[in-house]
């Protein structure tokens, strides 16, 4: 039975259709593995009872009407605690929302459950998605299953680990500055941040609204593709979601025989000093492999790359300070008992409920938006954002079809290694944030291991709404 957890979602689907095993056995096997893996702290909520009930219902549907059942029938998924799931505690791993049970699900989750998906639990994350190592959770750090003394990356650490440790075949995370791609690379799984607007943010607890996107983690490209397909699409509930046709990513996956005709841009500014030697070597090897598969490798320049991190931290923190102002203890969330005035209710609720990193970001975000500083910081950062977007536009129109870059300058670092310096932790995001600033799709593809057996990945960065082509390229690379 334990071999069930090693299957891909596609294999699980086949097995269920062939009656090789039941949904009850499948979900049961995953719940067992989750209870054996508590040390990883990947889940903050496990929906055992609900999942077993849904598994029984799935088995009934499969018995009665097999061919009509949607793809995810009976298949478990893990969902980042940032995404609301109706009836399940959803707290963005913050004390301020501990105990909050939403009366509705996020659109992305609803879409997957409509396709039969069984939510097996909510995964651990950096509080309010603010972090790059999953050490900022109010419910304990997550451990990397490959080396438990190391971080899994963040902020979607729990979702990455759920897939990497076979606790679920696929999971959902969010990516605002790299929070899907970086933990995917630290744990050796696939992770994708879709184009901004591709997936509805309705029901996703907001961190930075112009940057946030929900995306999938999976162990295979096929599973990644089908999960992305399931969650994508225009949603009238999200005014920033885009009316763009959602291709069938899965059926288009094998369209490319090889990579002839595809120009892959390698941005020289991403290969400056600071990348660990083994990471750079592995990525250079991957570039050679892509070359041998027929791609044309083109050196490109994204001149404003060095300013992306600064622009990101101003914009993201400013937007976060605004988004998190809703946590005031009035309509939902936790608040202290003895308070005299409304004002002190706000101040104490937030002081008690938010962790240190969240407080830092709110204070900085408030500062850069405050009178006298708005122009110098926020407005300036938005202008730099335009320059970064234009860098990508020029590269795509003049030189290349897709861009290849590192995801992270290092492999998974040790727990506690970067927690002493706020800035040092921020620097971990240097290669991922430009993609969020430009709203482009980013796909993290495992490509090697370092001498400590720690995974290394490269990322593909595509034109807006080019997810299908990116998945096809990754498919050719992985053959």
């Amino acid at each position: 039975m334990n071999s069930l957890i090693n299957l891909s979602a596609h294999e699980m689907r086949q097995g269920l259709l062939n009656s090789s095993f039941s949904a009850e056995e499948l979900v049961g096997a995953h719940l067992k593995e989750i209870s054996k893996s508590k040390e990883l702290n990947s889940f903050v909520t496990v929906c055992s009872e609900e999942a077993k009930i849904q598994a029984k219902a799935a088995d009934k549907a499969l018995r009665e009407n097999k061919e009509q059942t949607p793809f995810f029938t009976g298949i478990p998924l893990a969902v980042k605690d940032m995404l609301l799931v109706e009836g399940v505690e959803s707290k963005a791993c913050s004390k301020i929302l501990e105990g909050f049970t939403p009366p509705y699900s996020s659109t992305a989750v609803s879409k997957v459950t409509k396709q039969g998906g069984i939510i097996i639990g909510k995964t651990n994350m950096d509080e309010f998605a603010m972090g790059s190592s999953n050490e900022n959770s109010a419910f304990g750090a997550v451990k990397n299953p490959i080396d438990k003394t190391r971080v899994p990356g963040g902020s979607s650490g729990g979702s990455a680990v759920a897939v990497a440790a076979n606790l679920a075949p696929v999971s959902l995370g969010t990516d605002t500055g790299g929070s899907i791609r970086q933990p995917a690379s630290f744990t050796g799984v696939y992770g994708m941040k879709p184009t901004y607007g591709r997936v509805s943010r309705y029901g996703a607890i907001a961190y930075a609204s112009s940057l946030d996107q929900i995306g999938p983690f999976a162990r295979t490209i096929e599973d990644l593709a089908i999960t992305l397909e399931a969650i994508s699409g225009f949603d009238p509930q999200d005014s920033t979601s885009v009316k763009e046709e959602v291709p069938s990513f899965v059926s288009e996956l094998d369209k490319l025989k090889d990579l002839s005709g595809i120009r892959i841009g390698v941005p020289k500014e991403f290969f400056i000093s600071g990348i660990a030697t083994e990471v750079e070597d592995s990525i250079r090897e991957s570039i050679k492999k892509l070359d041998s598969l027929g791609a044309e490798i083109v050196e490109i320049s994204l001149p404003h790359t060095e300013y992306a991190l600064a622009a990101y931290y101003i914009i993201a923190l400013a937007e976060a300070s605004s988004n998190l102002s809703r946590y005031d203890g009035i309509r939902y969330g936790n608040r202290p008992e003895q308070v005299e005035t409304l004002e002190s209710l706000y101040e104490k609720t937030r002081a008690l409920g938010f962790g240190k990193e969240v407080k830092r970001r709110i204070l900085l975000g408030t500062y850069v938006l405050s009178a006298g500083y708005y122009d110098a910081y926020y407005l300036k950062a938005q202008q730099v954002r335009t320059l970064i977007i234009n860098d990508f536009k020029s590269a795509f129109s003049d030189s290349c079809d897709v861009i290849l870059a590192p995801v992270s300058p290092t492999t998974a670092f040790k727990l506690g290694e970067k927690t002493a310096s706020t800035l040092e932790m921020y620097l971990a995001d240097v290669f991922t944030v430009p993609v969020n600033l430009a709203g482009l799709p980013g796909l993290s593809v495992p490509c090697g291991l370092d001498s400590n057996n720690l995974p290394i990945s490269f990322q593909l960065i595509g034109k807006p709404f080019a997810e299908s082509q990116m998945l096809q390229i990754a498919k050719v690379y992985s053959r």
Partner: protein, 95 residues
């Protein structure tokens, strides 16, 4: 650029986030670090560059003026800290 303790206190009032005197020192060091880093943007020539607030430039995402269901009072009661049918109860506003 470095934040003074008064500035931190001012910002914490704007953010409705109580910061104790002990916390101010720790926060000051961390914020100063990050502020110094982001200051490098002042070196970028942004003359005539439009700021971006939305990457795809969608404007006026309207919906039809149709009444839809919202949360019921029963649903609100499941998560509101202090709720009466008249509204959310709060401590006194004027002290």
């Amino acid at each position: 650029m470095s934040l003074s303790k008064d500035e931190i206190k001012h910002v914490s009032r704007l953010a409705a986030l109580e910061v104790t005197d002990e916390e101010v020192d720790e926060i000051k060091a961390e914020l100063d670090d990050v502020l110094s880093y982001v200051e490098q943007l002042s070196a970028v020539n942004t003359e005539g560059i439009e700021p971006t607030s939305h990457v795809h430039g969608i404007v006026n995402a309207f919906r039809e003026d149709v009444i839809k269901d919202s949360l019921s009072l029963e649903e609100i009661e499941t998560f509101a800290p202090d709720f009466s049918p008249a509204g959310f109860r709060v401590p006194k506003i004027i002290s």
